[in-house]
């Protein structure tokens, strides 16, 4: 299995890994009303928004102000650059041995929804730029170019499990010898499209979300980006770089039950968690912390809770949903939560599941309620998506 030598994250609770970590320890969430999206719901539905405008992000990243950027590209470049610097990838000579694999649900939707009505009126050049940026792939190519990464690049779009699947793709590329280093993770921007989409499904909370609480009514939509740097043992040793941990196992399965809902018993989730542990060669009892998918919807938390009880045979380890801090960042969540998992291992800490009061009646599971310092050797991280896409990753020391 591959090593991890860098992490990068941007979310509603911080613009970099250090500030995300600080918020996690201070139990400070990033949920509030949007500053940047012009929607009917802007003072009704709280979201997890990254606290920088596009103009501020362009400045921060020293990008050419004359170009048009989707928020997706900006958030991706921000978090990927951090992971890149963390792993000192600037010193790698053969750029073709570094791959870039990213996940996203809606790509450059933030641009498309603003401009698509006016496409017919646009001049050709603007049209090409804006429309091209709608594609999921565009942020991947932009970030790869910004970091001068010349290996294989591709984009995964499996809704909320996109980033986690990008990490699996990256690990396999290294195993097959097709890359030495892979920057892998994902990104999603807040958009009118997704806010209205999730609202039409009636799964958004008008209050900060309460994952795994009996009174939960829905999720808070959010945005962000998170990446890890995966690296082969040989490359890591050659570069003399200290690892942050290892990707010990992973599995991608499908619930194949319903287009948006999870099966009540969490069939796909059970398969994903147990196969990931099996590939890692780890007994469920060796897991110290589970960073659950925990969206805060009625359906997910019940289904995931049942799956946890099945996989851990009733003895569920310490677990929490950090979506109670960040909101649900969709395709980015697997990347951001991978970074949180590695922080948990390196700092020996588990994070609370904010706003939990009463356990779900049929479940009786109590998530982690305070910051707790303890030895964390193995973390299981879940990303379950819309469309039945279930992915679990196992990180170790």
């Amino acid at each position: 299995m591959t090593w991890i030598t860098g992490i990068g994250a941007v979310s509603a609770i911080g613009l970099d890994v250090a500030s995300n970590y600080k918020s996690l320890l201070e139990s400070k969430d990033g949920i509030g009303y949007t500053e940047y999206i012009d929607t009917y719901h802007k003072r009704i539905l709280p979201v997890g928004e990254v606290k920088l405008s596009n103009e501020q992000l362009i400045d921060l990243l020293s990008l050419d102000k004359r170009d048009i950027y989707s928020r997706t590209e900006l958030l991706s470049i921000k978090a990927a650059s951090e992971a890149y610097q963390h792993a000192h990838l600037g010193e790698v000579k053969d750029r073709t041995r570094i791959a870039f694999i990213s996940g996203t649900s809606v790509g450059g939707m933030d641009l498309s929804e603003r401009y698509y009505k006016g496409y017919e009126l646009e001049g050709k050049k603007e049209l090409v730029t804006k429309f091209r940026k709608h594609g999921c792939y565009k942020h991947t190519e932009s970030a790869a170019k910004a970091l001068n990464v010349q290996g294989i690049s591709t984009t995964i779009s499996t809704a909320c499990s996109s980033a986690a699947n990008a990490i699996i793709y990256g690990a396999r590329l290294i195993d097959a010898g097709m890359a030495d280093i892979v920057i892998a993770g994902g990104v999603d921007p807040l958009s009118k499209f997704t806010i209205n989409g999730f609202n039409s499904l009636k799964i958004l909370d008008t209050e900060p979300t309460r994952p795994f609480d009996d009174s939960r009514v829905g999720l808070n939509l959010a945005e962000g980006a998170g990446y890890v740097v995966l690296e082969s043992e040989q490359s890591m040793k050659q570069r003399g770089i200290q690892p942050l941990g290892r990707l010990l196992g992973y599995a991608n399965t499908c619930d194949a039950y319903h287009q948006t809902a999870s099966s009540p018993e969490g069939k796909g989730a059970v398969l994903a968690m147990s196969r990931a542990l099996e590939l890692a060669g780890i007994q469920p009892s060796a897991v110290d912390y589970v960073n659950v998918h925990g969206t805060g919807t009625q359906n997910n938390d019940l289904s995931e809770g049942n799956a946890l009880k099945t996989v851990f045979n009733g003895k569920v380890p310490s677990f929490s949903s950090t979506k109670s801090y960040t909101g649900h960042t969709l395709g980015a969540s697997g990347g951001i939560e991978a970074a949180y998992s590695l922080l948990a291992i390196n700092n020996g800490v588990v994070y609370p599941n904010l706003r939990f009061k009463t356990s779900i009646a049929d479940l009786g599971l109590i998530p982690q309620q305070q910051v707790e310092y303890k030895t964390v050797n193995v973390v299981l991280s879940n990303s379950f998506g819309f469309g039945g896409n279930n992915t679990s990753l196992v990180f170790g020391r």
Partner: protein
């Protein structure tokens, strides 16, 4: 990467040619027009339950149909993996949902078109229809969507080691809206009309199962560079399927002259390669003049850079 023991068992395709449910489609080729071309829609009622598929867009129906037909031809009732390549995803439902909140405001919206708008809708539906709890991935990377999906299947089988049947589909949808933009923005090479297709393959690693062709090589590079030219030189394909000019002695056939231009056209290229290697009459029908045809390379060059090399051999 040189591949061992990876086969394409069967394939199915809905395209602007009469490829669906017609093994001799190449004997009655449709000429391409200058205008955007949509697929020849199959008689859905004949193959799909009309009630279950009533709210499905054309792209979803075509994907389900081709998946089922490829499985039927392979003689399998189950899949171990569903890997879908789509650059533009479900355009019809995406624009429908965008239009709905633009025209009706943001209250009381119906979720149907949103649910069916995400790129992974296709793979999710296929998995549900055949009850596949296995690997499920959707890749959306413009002109490299299909190649990197095929690579995903290869890497998955390499890791799993046991025998697997993987669905790998290359699917893109053309709507009136996207056709207008593609044309106006000249997103693609002008040589061919913009088009669409749903093409899929059962890719497997089971020597004992039905095999149409062997997938012998897959390479992804930054551009049509020396690595690719070296591969041609070393592997000596009898024919190259490509829309690009390639500096080699090997004859090149532009398959986009049959299927039109779209982001997952290389899936049609692979489909054509399988047809050419398995059906004796296909060669002359499409106008390929190569005496002996045992090995075909499909080379796809991305307008923004990057290049792919796929190679198949007769079994």
């Amino acid at each position: 990467m040189q591949l061992q023991n990876i086969y394409i068992g069967s394939s199915s395709c809905v395209s602007i040619q009469e490829t669906f449910d017609n093994p001799l489609w190449f004997e009655s080729l449709k000429p391409l027009t200058k205008e955007p071309m949509k697929v020849l829609a199959p008689d859905y009622k004949k193959f799909l339950d009309p009630t279950a598929t009533r709210r499905m867009s054309k792209v979803l129906k075509n994907s389900l149909l081709t998946a089922r037909q490829a499985m039927e031809q392979q003689g399998i009732a189950e899949l171990d993996a569903v890997i879908t390549a789509t650059a533009w995803g479900c355009q019809e439902d995406t624009t429908k949902f965008l239009d709905s909140f633009e025209s009706m405001g943001e209250e009381l919206l119906s979720p149907t078109s949103f649910i069916q708008s995400t790129h992974n809708t296709i793979g999710g539906l296929i998995a549900m229809s055949v009850k596949c709890n296995g690997y499920n991935n959707t890749i959306s990377h413009d002109f490299m969507s299909f190649e990197t999906s095929l690579l995903d299947a290869v890497l998955l089988m390499r890791e799993n080691k046991q025998a697997m049947n993987c669905y790998v589909g290359g699917i893109d949808e053309l709507t009136d809206f996207s056709a207008g933009i593609f044309t106006k923005a000249q997103c693609f090479n002008d040589a061919h009309p913009v088009a669409e297709a749903a093409t899929c393959f059962i890719v497997h690693n089971n020597e004992a199962q039905k095999k149409a062709v062997k997938l012998s090589n897959i390479a992804l590079t930054q551009s049509l560079d020396q690595t690719v030219l070296d591969l041609i030189q070393q592997n000596k394909p009898d024919l190259i399927l490509s829309s690009s000019v390639i500096a080699s002695d090997v004859p090149v056939f532009d398959y986009r002259g049959l299927c039109g231009e779209f982001t997952t056209a290389s899936a049609f290229g692979l489909y054509l390669a399988v047809e050419l290697l398995t059906k004796a009459s296909a060669k002359s029908a499409v106008g390929v003049s190569v005496a002996v045809l045992k090995k075909i390379a499909i080379i796809n060059v991305y307008p923004e850079g990057r290049c792919s090399y796929l190679e198949v051999e007769a079994c």
